[in-house]
């Protein structure tokens, strides 16, 4: 066929028209856009039936109720539980990010044993036999007291079971970390007698005098405190914040009174003096004062005259007087101790002096006041069965009163005082001041057994790791603590089957006791932890299992409170930070960074400002006046008696000249690329300072120098 001009043009036009009209082109474009986005590696979350499980969060001492949204059996979101009497709805970022902990890259997935510095997986049976073998030898050698145990707290049935285990085994050496609750219990013990703790009715008080308490920085039960702060604004209640830097709490306060770090106790003593001198104390409550109120009065007038304290604290004498009088004249004043989150290194003198202000106003055990309340005793443990070895060991003197002291004792002694150490829910190798020495002390302990969900710094220094289910995978009673006025016990319930080969800590202990046999097995005569828990809380189990919580006490406690001034009347010394450099380095509590166990989640780290951490570098807050010649964002070396670190400067008008601040909770050294190896662990720069009255670390700061790096 001959192709002439006419048919060529015809064909061509026909083809153009055909392509234009045909759906092929549009279809191909559409397909290509669909197929280029139809990438199999982008997950498609499976759909299913929506349900909500109620439980309690145990990530921090806040003990908030949570509601977990599930798709079939899969938890997809954690939110605050509206009906839980601690948080009443709302949750903090760490709780909301809680599901990330289930699948955390650092989860310990199976029992591990250290062999030549490397961990190898073993079975639960092997792990229990290994630990029981070691413990059996200790008892054979008549030294059950060489078993020691560190837990985060002594509240609740799980720390209770560790205590039970230690007593049955024959060791008095169960110690805890320093938490806000432990400081409050010790303060109450010092001033009012043992078995008591303090609660602060921030929801109703009309004048809150906070001595650096980070009321919206994670102090106490964070969500409850956030709510109290919001309510305060609506009620018109005043908040005065006494703190060396403009924390979020200080920025929200009605007045921010900058103070030289570490002089809060002196200020509180001077204020006590003003109240006593001006006759602004409550005579009715004063009838319960014991242990030399007159002696205390004479001492504060002599040792803490306002002019002298004004010079020490950097607050004018007129301001001190005005603040003290405003506090005393308020209807419902509350003075709040505990710098930052109120945990870790604090000072008993400071806590006691601040709480004495509460006692002098007489606003104790009243609405809008401070509650001196009994430590809730809802657990009824059976007496542990002890044999002769155990009785002898348990009767020995305690090696140490706290985890801090235990670590120091081990570090300083030449002979091994502890053969085997249990660690549960604590990370002393990270969070005690001077962790290098803590790590050295751990290296001296022949056998460390860690009950943990995550491979953190302390887990890495352990010999055997028993993997523990997270709070979302197990039962546990969760007593409220940390300055709440209401005593509530919550029940954490598993919302998902254990993701890995883990067990609840209670089950691990019961199994270990059974492996040991003899009196140990007799002391742990429960088939599993759930049965055990049920038998330990007979009075409230029904309520717990039905409502998810039981309110043990609310409203002001009844009965008279006696106050004993003996401790303060002796004028215990105010602790000074180590070193003689010209700057004072204070650790900063930042709500977005977790400081205890577990470490921050990836989501939490994502929220951290780029003026706190940038790539791997950490910033230190400094007043531009202090930074003579140095540049904002420039690199410097911070040197303290404990060590030195390379950091960047964050010029901040909100920090006192002469003071520099670093955020706590960063600089982790474990293997999690989302969370660890970012910044510096501020505890590495702080040397502990032991307060004689409490035997505890009171290093609120350290002296530091900076130089261009």
């Amino acid at each position: 066929m001959k192709v002439d001009r006419r048919s060529f043009l015809g064909l061509g036009l026909g083809a153009v028209a055909g392509i234009a009209i045909s759906p092929v082109g549009a279809k191909l474009t559409d397909d290509s856009s669909i197929w280029t986005q139809n990438w199999p590696w982008t997950p498609v979350p499976p759909d299913g039936k929506i349900s909500h499980d109620q439980s309690v969060c145990t990530l921090c001492p806040g003990t908030c109720g949570i509601s977990v949204r599930k798709i079939d059996s899969r938890p997809v979101k954690i939110e605050g539980e509206d009906t839980y009497p601690v948080n009443n709805g709302g949750a903090c970022l760490h709780g909301i990010a809680g599901l990330q902990y289930l699948y955390d890259p650092c989860r310990v997935k199976t029992p591990l044993k250290k062999n030549n510095g490397r961990f190898e997986p073993i079975s639960w049976q092997e792990a229990l036999t290994l630990v029981a073998g070691r413990l059996g030898k200790i008892r054979e050698n008549q030294g059950p007291d060489t078993l020691a145990c560190i837990t985060d707290t002594d509240l609740g049935s799980v720390p209770g079971l560790f205590s039970h285990f230690m007593t049955a085994f024959g060791s008095p050496n169960h110690v805890t970390m320093q938490t806000l609750e432990s400081w409050l219990v010790q303060t109450a013990q010092t001033l009012h007698g043992s078995g008591r703790t303090l609660g602060f009715d921030l929801d109703n008080a009309d004048f809150i005098l906070s001595f650096g308490a980070g009321i919206i920085e994670g102090w106490g039960s964070p969500v409850a405190c956030f709510k109290a702060n919001s309510g305060r604004r609506q009620r018109g209640a005043k908040l005065y914040q006494i703190e060396p830097r403009l924390s979020n709490t200080a920025a929200k306060a009605d007045r921010w009174i900058p103070i030289q770090p570490g002089t809060e106790a002196d200020l509180a003593m001077a204020m006590c003096g003003i109240l006593l001198q001006e006759n602004l104390f409550d005579p009715e409550f004063a009838a319960g004062f014991r242990g030399g109120l007159n002696r205390f009065n004479a001492m504060v007038q002599q040792k803490y005259p306002v002019d002298q304290v004004a010079a020490v604290t950097g607050i004018s004498a007129a301001d001190i007087k005005k603040t003290a009088i405003a506090f005393a004249k308020a209807k419902m004043p509350v003075a709040v101790p505990g710098k930052g989150r109120g945990d870790g290194a604090q000072s008993l003198k400071e806590f006691a002096a601040i709480h004495t202000l509460n006692c002098l106003t007489g606003n104790i055990n009243k609405k809008g006041g401070t509650f001196v309340k009994p430590v809730p005793g809802y657990l009824s443990f059976p007496d542990p069965v002890q044999d002769a070895v155990a009785r002898k060991g348990a009767g020995k003197e305690k090696l140490a009163g706290s985890a801090r002291e235990l670590v120091t004792t081990i570090h300083q002694s030449d002979t091994p005082v502890v053969d085997t150490l249990f660690v549960y829910n604590a990370n002393p190798c990270y969070s005690l001041n001077d962790p290098v020495k803590t790590r050295a002390a751990f290296d001296k302990i022949p056998f460390v057994v860690n009950f943990t969900s995550f491979m953190d710094e302390t887990a890495m220094a352990s010999d055997v790791i028993l993997p523990i289910s997270t709070f979302l995978e197990r039962f546990e009673d969760v007593p409220s603590r940390a300055g709440l006025v209401r005593s509530v016990v919550g029940l954490a319930r598993p919302v998902v089957d254990p993701v890995f080969d883990t067990r609840s800590p209670g089950d691990a202990l019961i199994l270990l006791a059974k492996t040991l046999g003899g009196t140990m097995a007799d002391s742990f005569d429960w088939p599993d932890y759930k049965t055990c828990l049920k038998s330990l809380v007979p009075g409230i189990w029904k309520e717990l299992s039905k409502n998810g919580h039981a309110v043990i006490a609310q409203g002001p406690p009844a009965g008279r409170v006696e106050t004993n001034f003996a401790f303060l009347a002796n004028n215990p010394p105010t602790m000074q930070p180590k070193g003689d450099a010209n700057l004072t380095l204070v650790p900063i509590d930042n709500m977005r960074v977790a400081t205890a166990v577990p470490a921050s989640s990836p989501f939490a780290v994502k929220t951290v400002s780029d003026r706190v951490i940038k790539k791997k570098d950490m910033f230190v807050e400094i007043n531009p006046k202090t930074a003579n010649g140095l540049k904002d964002g420039g690199f410097v070396t911070v040197t303290t008696p404990a060590g030195s670190a390379r950091v960047r400067l964050d010029f901040n008008e909100g920090i006192m000249p002469g003071v520099i601040g670093m955020v706590k909770g960063l600089g982790h050294g474990f293997d999690n690329k989302y969370v660890a190896d970012k910044g510096v662990n501020v505890h590495e720069l702080i040397s502990p300072v032991i307060e004689p009255g409490s035997g505890l670390d009171a290093a609120f700061a350290v002296k530091a120098s900076i130089a261009k790096a």
């Binding site: 982008t42 498609v44 979101k77 709510k227 702060n229 919001s230 007043n623 909100g654």
Partner: protein
């Protein structure tokens, strides 16, 4: 398809005096909307945070410094005159982002987006984020992803949707229960329910019984000084970001402090004093 008969105008008011800067809203948003995370999130320019919390400072020296926080979701602009021509919607060549006249919500359809990022350039609030990489979750962590929001892929823009899936669920529930009314508490965004300080109030700005309407008291008339501005608050403590642009955001902010309200826009010397006491049209004072 379920049709909602009434035209809503969902909006938010954030009390900056209550906001503690804790970050719960940010995390709740990320957990609700399957927002991924990377190894290093310290470069905030490419960090996906639909709800981002900015720190404000009054810039004064010690000890008169004060700080505050400002959470910034998508502002769900109504555009000039509140006609639905939001800055991003009007530039999108793919209709991947659209204005919902029944809700006032600015949508984002990931599968339509081809990543030109015009919308990001057009958004005066930096509320839009681009996926430079495919999302990667650590092994097993994809198990917590919610089926209500599809995870995004590399090359698309994403932003806050006022938790639109929660609106859909609430609407379906209302329909199932035979009602055409969505109760105020049936549709709340993830940031609102998470906020432990109760700083975020969410609801229908068109509904006088909703708290957000009662606080904002939106002016139904255009601003006499600038006819592009509609829905200006008649509450002297309430302001919007860059209000004078006429983008008409549906996110309002509230503060007692003048220095915070002043930071809502970039004012020239003397400008603030002229506008600070102007709250809506004179005919609706009080």
């Amino acid at each position: 398809m379920i049709q909602d008969k009434k035209a809503h105008k969902f909006g938010m008011v954030i009390d900056l005096d209550k906001c503690t800067g804790c970050g719960s809203c940010t995390v709740s948003c990320m957990a609700e909307n399957n927002v991924p995370f990377k190894e290093d999130e310290s470069d905030k320019k490419d960090s996906l945070t639909w709800m981002r919390v900015y720190k404000l400072t009054n810039g004064r020296p010690f000890p008169d410094t004060r700080t505050a926080y400002l959470p910034r979701p998508c502002q769900h602009c109504g555009g000039k005159g509140d006609h639905g021509h939001s800055p991003c919607v009007s530039v999108c060549p793919a209709t991947a982002t659209d204005y919902g006249y029944d809700t006032g919500i600015v949508s984002q359809i990931y599968t339509r987006c081809f990543g030109c990022r015009y919308c990001m350039a057009a958004c005066p609030y930096h509320a839009r984020y681009f996926n430079w990489w495919d999302p990667v979750w650590p092994e097993g962590m994809e198990k917590y992803l919610s089926p209500n929001v599809s995870p995004r892929m590399r090359g698309v823009v994403e932003k806050c949707s006022f938790c639109y899936h929660r609106y859909q669920l609430a609407r379906e529930k209302a329909y199932y229960e035979g009602s055409d009314e969505i109760p105020e508490d049936a549709y709340q965004t993830a940031c609102t329910t998470a906020c432990p300080a109760g700083a975020i109030i969410f609801g229908d700005l068109n509904n006088p019984s909703h708290k957000v309407h009662q606080i904002v008291k939106p002016d139904p008339h255009p601003d006499p000084l600038n006819h592009d501005v509609v829905g200006k608050s008649r509450n002297p403590k309430v302001f919007r970001l860059l209000e004078r642009l006429g983008t008409n955001p549906k996110v309002y902010y509230m503060s007692e402090h003048e220095w915070i309200r002043k930071l809502g826009d970039s004012y020239l010397d003397g400008e603030w004093d002229k506008v600070k006491n102007h709250h809506g049209s004179a005919s609706h004072d009080g």
